[in-house]
Amino acid sequence: MAHDHNVNPNAPLEYQSEVGRLNITGFWTFLGAEIALFSTLFASYFALQSRVGDGPTSTEMFEAGLVMIMTMLLLTSSFTCGIAIHEMRANNVKGVIIWMIITLILGAGFIGYELYEFVHYVHEGVTLSTSAHWSIFFILLGTHGLHVSIGIGWIILLLIQLARRGLTPKTASKVFISSLYWHFLDVVWIFIFTCVYLMGMVS
């Protein structure tokens, strides 16, 4: 806790206390572990992708329009989240909260479409146990969707704290860390979009 007072006034707010700075660096280490986690799911996806059994293929199930809507929602939410951090660096609490709420609404829209997609597939008879291909599809997409859902809950709690305590080196580093998490989920989605959806619609 003694490090808390070690303030560098020339850095952006979130880097000002040593604890805040180290928390950010530590979170990047966590993201390294998340990259490894998702890589195992992608590895399984590539290995099992062709095992469709008696079930339908990706080409038969995927809808280009739905995929584009989901991608644009998440991409835009990543952008608005970046704007929230930009506002934070201009020391504007209100701006941070407003842009973060927009981010969360877009994120919730993404989750809504993903749930719609899953429910639609189940109604068409495509479930977790249809084939190895669809098992890994639901596991990979579900893990990503779960991360987004956890992110929404986490950022809501952070915003409550931010509204109560205002921008301090401590709250700023927390908001910055949550933005890293959110952007990271978009990075994962870029690869899901490319490797799962686009390649699934090619063949």
């Binding site: 020339n10 950010i24 990259i35 195992t40 644009m72 930009h86």
Partner: protein, 106 residues
């Protein structure tokens, strides 16, 4: 408190990053759905677009290279991606070639 307040500073970096991301997404989409190239050609091309877009997010939105620990963070993240590539390519190679041999011996 904060000496680095940039009030009224327009977020150009974010907007440019966002526009490039949208462009890359659309070009990848068009490449995958509206060309009749072989699927491996398409895969290589859209994977390059994905890597560019991911790098853009990491550097422009996540400020990866910024701050005192920027070098450490970038090294850590690049190592993470290296591990990811080893796991994905290794698993794919092992599972596909291993399966072929199993099929032949039976």
């Amino acid at each position: 408190m904060s000496q680095q307040t940039k009030k009224g500073h327009f977020p150009w970096k974010h907007i440019i990053g966002f526009l490039i991301s949208i462009a890359l997404t659309l070009v990848a989409f068009a490449t995958a759905l509206w060309t009749d190239w072989s699927s491996s050609t398409i895969f290589i091309i859209i994977l390059i677009f994905a890597v560019i877009q991911a790098a853009l997010q990491l550097v422009m939105f996540m400020h990866m290279t910024e701050g005192e620990d920027g070098g450490l963070i970038s090294g850590n993240t690049l190592f993470g991606f290296f591990i990811a590539i080893v796991i994905i390519v290794g698993t794919y190679w092992l599972m596909t070639s291993g399966h072929m041999h199993m099929g032949m011996s039976m």
